[in-house]
Symmetry: C2
Subunit: 142 residues, 2 copies
Amino acid sequence: MFMKMTGDLMDAETMTIREMCDAFDVTPRTLRFYESKELLFPIREGQKRLFTKRDRARLKLILRGKRFGFSLEEIRQLLELYYLGDQQETQLTRTLEVASERLDDLVRRREELDEAIGEMKQQMGLVEDMLDDIASKRQQRA
Amino acid sequence: MFMKMTGDLMDAETMTIREMCDAFDVTPRTLRFYESKELLFPIREGQKRLFTKRDRARLKLILRGKRFGFSLEEIRQLLELYYLGDQQETQLTRTLEVASERLDDLVRRREELDEAIGEMKQQMGLVEDMLDDIASKRQQRA
DNA sequence: AGTCAAGTTTACGTTGACGTAAGCGAGACG
DNA sequence: CGTCTCGCTTACGTCAACGTAAACTTGACT
């Protein structure tokens, strides 16, 4: 009659695969697939996967990347930018270069998006004009 | 020794498949594929396809849509919004509704994109701090 | 002990978006 | 006239990103 306990103490740090699926609206298959592609690195308790805060942050970025049309491989490389071990100076400099390119790319995308938004609004304005026209003709007829 | 003439008068209105490919950096296969999926409607002169100004406008939107991760089918539906025949009032109203939803979607994407840009900048700031740290330690050693 | 839900691995299937190859037709050039 | 170069159609191939099915464990509850 008790709530099913996860065995562990209700751990705020890690989540089961099901909790992840519910939280991010993905299937278990997807999470395992991302793990196989080295996009996520859940720890293993026995057989079970446990997804950490880090995995959740990464998944959020993954899903966002997908919405913007990046491939999983591109996303994997982006995620690397977010992982700073104790690197060498040259490595860090390289990281900064790559990040700068990515940033430029994002900014360009935003410009494109702004353009798209503008065009969509313009188009809607046209449709509204047509509707007004129809309405005025109906008025005229009366 | 003369420039190869297209047979026709150098028509600014229509473009051949090759001109399109060069202009938009796509392959012929892609253009034919888009036509088969009813995203483009080049006119036929004999067998040859001739792409109109309208096709070029559509292709621009198609490629932009792809960069934002829309599927070709989604893009096809978006393109319909840009085509205003002499419709009925109810149809136009419906068009406006759909366009409004799409617009909201675009705006949400821009917000996400802004967030991504902010995070990327922040991350770059961290990397710069690390580099500064390394530099100051080198200084200290001297 | 039985069984039932959840999770795991392995492997094959599917869908979207083209690539690639084969074979044909028509205009341009030597 | 022969051959090249484009373009066309038809059809099979491919790659990414999962879906789906089968067979097995494991922990939880009755």
